[in-house]
Symmetry: C3
């Protein structure tokens, strides 16, 4: 595997899930693969969970890790040709990226959406530059529009919980069991946030054949259509997310509630891209919301602002999966790094 | 060992000293213990010696190390329930701590006293949150009121020096030899400093049966009573520090002078907590001060401001132990990490 | 080897080149040397290439690495005796350096020229303090006046290219082949830059018997005389750089063009030290400049400002060696660290 951006990059998702569960049983099993191999983690934006879990996964696999914190503001790369570089851009990406790449075997990149230029963000400019010019395997550690390590960890967490609650074994994992209903719900927030997490969550839930996904949000928060539709790379089958604007209706019978805020994706009104359109606190997930579900489990990628996204009671309840979900970031990342090591 | 805050946490101090000397003879002897184990060092405040020595100790023991610099100003954790988190606190400690903990096997925490709220500082709020919510072994890398890695290193340094000067062997170390007189002396400084180092020094010297401790400082600098008294966990014996306000009288016959500034502990006048009550330069340790001692050795935890705490002549003299004292930070920390690895 | 500052520190340069090529063939061959050894990298200035390549080289050799970023502005060390340290300098170098050294086996130091005090810069004050007070092997990761890891990597890159173009083998490398003409050319820049890179490049090219060096720059940019002359430590033979103020004349017949900006070295006019004397864009290396050469290769240490130092066409041409040159930083550093490990 040379790039990890979308669920399709993993090929057969059932096999990837089996590998995840195998690695969770023995995190150090593939440690020989990483010997004398170096992962470079490049952060254009801050990170806590992603940095820690990725570093841990790489160390589990025997790799050396170099962390590079690039202040997105301070380190500006020129991307054009023909420019006299006498301003604040001290290096051209055509030098910077190959140079970083020459000291490592694999690259993880974090680069958030700026939320001001939709075209630039949705073109995944930074990520694609690394894919194009580094010559090394590259995985997304949350980029402008996707956060696949999170969504893969979300799926693992849901499958573990579902298997436990339904009494089926995780040995020799397959998707062929009772389907679960998952709801991605928008919730209010005080700051404008990117769409990377909801985009990837939708993608991955559509890729998992045992999940029936409903997306619910106020009008204007429609996600980009390319994420609402998923084509199975093996069968060509197309699955589409159901969008339900009535949050209560969406929650009814849900087995999993995935709460997340995002700012306007600018699909219906491009001029609104990155804006906060609503702070409607009736969308905050509280015990009443959860009472509409089928004794649903609660997920969130963290960090979470209590009182806005979710109440204390819900996030602290036994049905809250947020901590195991965070812990599974180490597992999803281990599968990705293992696959990339095998491809070297 | 699941926590390291006070000397009692080590159990039998004589045995801990034996381990320290054993590890100093072969720093890599217990390297197998740390294989595939990860230490997370969390710094809410800057660090030089502590960061370097702890990282070195963990690597000696074969561990992986993740360093997390948390800007105490920038990363504010909500600690209350029922709050709508729409302000500057982006995460609740009930999520943040378990998440950090889930990517490691052991945690070191540095979090200084703020020196404005005595109750908050002396409650060791941050440290105790990690002890309570992380589920992992936690050791203090200088917290609001204690710096046990330093004090343990101080004790090792004094015992080594004392054994050398008195011609007794360090093999099969025991405390049963000629007693040494140690003096903790306040000295002036231009900034208000916490009491963590003097608090722990007093605790550890009271825990060492071969040390007779005298504490000297201007009026108003009385340390918190809980540190001036030590109960031996095995025998129940209580030892108390002698306080002597006359610095010269305190120094007479001293074998070890431990100089340190601290701000007002607020014991007699709570309103003075964290204030500088004196800049009296007659307390600066110079050659005349040292001439009152029994050819005493000089210690300081570093960094030290020359001319305020101590003169050039004293700190550069052959009787100065500040560099071996700093080097022993690697040893004290190795014992702590080894004990925690054994408890996993 | 206890210090690495000048080419003489490597002893026989031919043997060092052989080691470099041997290590490039098998980067992990000497991994046993670094077991349980720790490199401390101390950065008083920012770094990308140097940090990454040095960390990689140390890990290749099996070492542990501790990176210490010292904000040159924030961490001020007192260097004088007899001072009452009640200002912004919180630590004396006589404590700080031995303490940093006691937690490692080897030190790399980066500390740029301040470009305001020529005497201070050219005395290599910071580097020499580490050499004098650390008691550990120390190598320069670009200091006030030299950047030997870069110049050694430059030489390796030129030899590889020369061997390939002339069809001679790199096995059992020796300097006894057709000579190459190398030109160090000044080029304009928008900021005042140190002279470390050109100083070291001149030194190393004079140390390589197969290189004929010409230095070209506008009047006033004369490099310090001590770098323009090289005495072979084995034979006592003295070689001097040729200075040619006519850039075109210098370029004629050149096999390698090494472009670099530097600010005024203050040799003829000490008051001009660190100033920008010229921004003459006729010195920018473009395709016309390269047409004067013998199908010359282009080198630059990076980062490079396109349009000022070199045009897009030249740096992207097949004759540009800037990426392999950066990659060879891992190799030059590996030789240096290996030598130091062998000396422990």
């Amino acid at each position: 595997m040379r790039s990890f951006v979308n669920p399709q990059d993993l090929g057969d998702l059932q096999k990837a899930m089996q590998e995840a569960l195998e690695i969770k049983n023995d995190r150090f099993k593939y440690q020989h693969l990483g010997k004398n191999k170096t992962l470079m983690m490049i952060f254009f934006n801050n990170s806590l969970r992603t940095r820690l879990s990725t570093q841990k996964a790489a160390m589990n696999l025997g790799m050396n890790v170099i962390v590079l914190d690039v202040n997105a503001g301070a380190w500006k790369l020129e991307t054009e040709r023909g420019v006299i570089m006498d301003g604040d851009k001290a290096e051209h990406l055509l030098e910077a990226i190959p140079v970083m790449a020459c000291y490592c075997d694999m690259i993880g990149v974090r680069s958030f959406a700026g939320l001001s230029d939709r075209e630039y963000d949705y073109a995944e400019t930074v990520l694609n530059q690394f894919l194009k010019y580094s010559g090394k395997p590259v995985f997304a550690m949350e980029t402008a529009t996707v956060h696949p390590l999170q969504a893969f960890a979300d799926l693992i967490t849901m499958e573990e919980s579902w298997a436990k609650d339904n009494g089926h074994s995780l040995d020799n994992f397959d998707f062929n069991h009772k389907k679960m209903k998952a709801v991605l719900t928008w919730a209010p927030h005080c700051r404008a946030l990117p769409q990377a997490v909801p985009n990837s969550y939708v993608q991955w839930m559509l890729a998992a054949p045992d999940v029936e996904l409903v997306v619910t949000h106020p009008h204007g928060y429609e996600l980009d259509p390319k994420f609402l539709e998923y084509t199975n790379p093996a069968t060509g089958e197309v699955r589409r997310a159901v969008v339900e604007y009535d949050q209560r209706k969406a929650f009814e019978g849900a087995d999993f509630i995935y709460a997340k805020n995002w700012s306007c994706p600018g699909v219906t009104e491009p001029a609104d891209y990155g804006k906060i359109l609503s702070k409607d606190m009736s969308w905050t997930v509280d015990t009443e919301h959860m009472s509409w579900t089928n004794n649903g489990k609660f997920l969130h990628c963290l960090p979470v602002r209590r009182g806005l996204i979710v109440t204390d009671d819900v996030i602290e309840s036994p049905n809250s999966l947020v901590i195991p979900e965070a812990a599974n970031r180490e597992i999803s990342c281990s599968v990705v790094i293992k696959r990339m090591l095998e491809s070297l």
